[in-house]
Amino acid sequence: MAIVETRGLTKNFKAGQAAAVKDVNLESREGEFLVLLGPSGSGKTTLLRMIAGLEEPTSGEIRIGGVVVNDMTPRERRIAMVFQSYALYPHLTVLGNIVFPLKARGIGRSEREKKADWAANLLGIRHLLDRKPRELSGGERQRVALARAIVREPSLFLLDEPLSNLDAKLRASAREELEQFQRRVATTTIYVTHDQVEAMAMGDRIAVMNFGEVRQIGTPAEVYDDPADTFVATFLGSPPMNLVEHGDVVIGFRPEHFFPVTHLAGRAAVPEDLRAGETEGPYVPLHFRISHEEYLGAERILYGDLQDSRFEAKKVISRMSSTHGARFETGSVHAFAVPEQHLKFFDRAKGTRTARVPLVPAESP
């Protein structure tokens, strides 16, 4: 178990250009699964590589288990890393791959075999020990990479988008295996991804990054329901949060909280749309002209714009379960609403979260 801390960590690849990682202060908790989430270029991989010792920080400190590791080589940091391509040694067998880190530490033969056996067993790859990496499927390679990582019983796991090279079908099962694995070994894990679904599903906490800075760290619920700025608000959630300008603020509301007024009227409310208590309380009525609809099976996504002089025909999205059979014709205008408690307010200039402001009342029709 180790706590990873970074203080003021910065990486500048080329003087004069924008920093890849800017003054990041991070502290992981013991045994947690911490996700670094962000679009490409956000600096998440660079941050991970600095923690691993593969990249030299321009300034700032990295501590693992309380010890400053800036001057230590990767080898001395006693961490394990799984690369995007898994980086299996192609000329060694699976067994050879797994024992390699043990050999590098000078561990004796019988001890090596024991540990390799334990790791292979843990990941269910005992039957693959004689194979070469090129003979394995994507999922099997991931397991070998994990076995190689776990065999040293490291205090820290670093994973760099290990699921992105797998095809979509495989990704779901590989993700589940990864989650189970991490829970079993309970080692502090830092996981890099650009996929917010992965981040939400797997992370105990998520650090959302953009342009080298950490915008927010929090549990999935915190970053989703309580975003610190418009970037976090729109990066998480698909379709993204609706953002509407209003004077000095930007008002945000999620598509699933934007539904026909009829859903509020106490009629048979469907659990997916509304949680207990939402039928009561004030709400903001908004007229919504629908331009087109996507039927996705379990859900329907409605695209359109607000027919409201306050918001200048702003494009918004609504999302509801398909169990609502209501028909919506393109071009038609409907009375929709957002419960007031689900409105988020952001400073228009800076994008950061601000206090609620009262809305200018709508003009009477």
């Binding site: 001057d71 230590m72 080589t73 001395e76």
Partner: protein, 284 residues
């Protein structure tokens, strides 16, 4: 190793790195420095064992160069080499460019195999073929003439060039020619008007390398050509620049320098392209 800190390890690594580079660079390039300094040293300085050989002990001189250009056939050899090079390059291009294209585009998998086969002929050594070839050359009445080597050299420049060009052509997407053919060009026209212009850098690389292959060749030239006036530089300099048993080292080294440096510069400029063609060709 773990005892040293990261920064001192880096300094040590840097020093070792530089020592390795300097040692290799000196060992590999020294003969050329030696050619240079010998070319311009006065004979009295050159043959005086008491002098430090690494520096000019007397003022440098152009006497060796003058001798080389005025009293030997060196210029003639340069001309011969240039002429032979030009002819061989022309023949090679005319045959290798279409062949490489056809083998890449028009023949499918067995075309690849033929391509590899062609490349393997490059490995057949001149020292195996030179004896029968000397007979063939004599039968054709070409012995002791530049035309003998102009005839024979393409036998290795064509395989080499074909293989290089195959690598270049392979990297051109097929869709370009397909689009041209849909637009109305025939396959051959697409080849002439589209593929060749795009591959000019590859073709230029092939020209340079073919030319260097011509200048570097020794065995066939030694076998087929006997009279001094018809020699190429690679043959004339080591074999004919000696008078009897006496080596005029000053002029000899000057000749060597002139015969090697221009090629070296050209080669260096095109090396990256060569490597690109080489690795694309072999790793696919």
């Amino acid at each position: 190793m773990a005892a040293l800190s990261k920064s001192s390890r880096r300094i040590l690594g840097g020093i070792v790195h530089w020592i390795v580079l300097v040692v290799f660079a000196v060992v590999l390039a020294f003969p050329f420095y030696w050619m240079f300094i010998t070319s311009f040293k006065r004979t009295s300085d050159l043959y005086n064992l008491k002098n430090n050989p690494f520096i000019f002990n007397e003022r440098p001189t152009l006497e060796h160069l003058k001798l080389l250009f005025n009293e030997t056939l060196f210029l003639r050899w340069l001309g011969n080499t240039a002429f032979a090079g030009l002819c061989v390059v022309t023949i090679t291009l005319l045959l290798a460019v279409p062949a490489a294209y056809a083998l890449t585009r028009l023949t499918g998998r067995w075309g690849q195999r033929v391509g590899i086969g062609i490349f393997l002929t490059y490995l057949v050594p001149p020292t195996l073929l030179f004896i029968p070839l000397s007979r063939i050359v004599a039968t054709l009445g070409l012995q002791d003439s530049l035309w003998s080597i102009i005839l024979v050299y393409p036998s290795f420049t064509i395989p080499f060039s074909t293989w290089l060009l195959m690598g270049f052509f392979k990297s051109i997407p097929r869709e370009l020619e397909d689009a041209a053919m849909v637009d109305g060009l025939s396959r051959f026209q697409a080849f002439l008007k589209l593929v060749i212009p795009i591959s000019l850098s590859g073709i230029l690389t092939v020209v340079i390398f073919t030319f260097t292959l011509v200048t570097q060749e020794f065995v066939y030239a030694l076998t087929f050509i006997s009279s001094a006036a018809h020699e190429t530089v690679g043959l004339g300099v080591p074999v004919f620049l000696v008078r009897g048993d006496v080596y005029y080292w000053g002029s000899l080294m000057a000749a060597c320098l002139i015969a090697s440096l221009p090629i070296a510069v050209l080669y260096n400029l095109f090396l990256d392209r060569f490597i690109a063609g080489f690795t694309v060709g072999s790793v696919k």
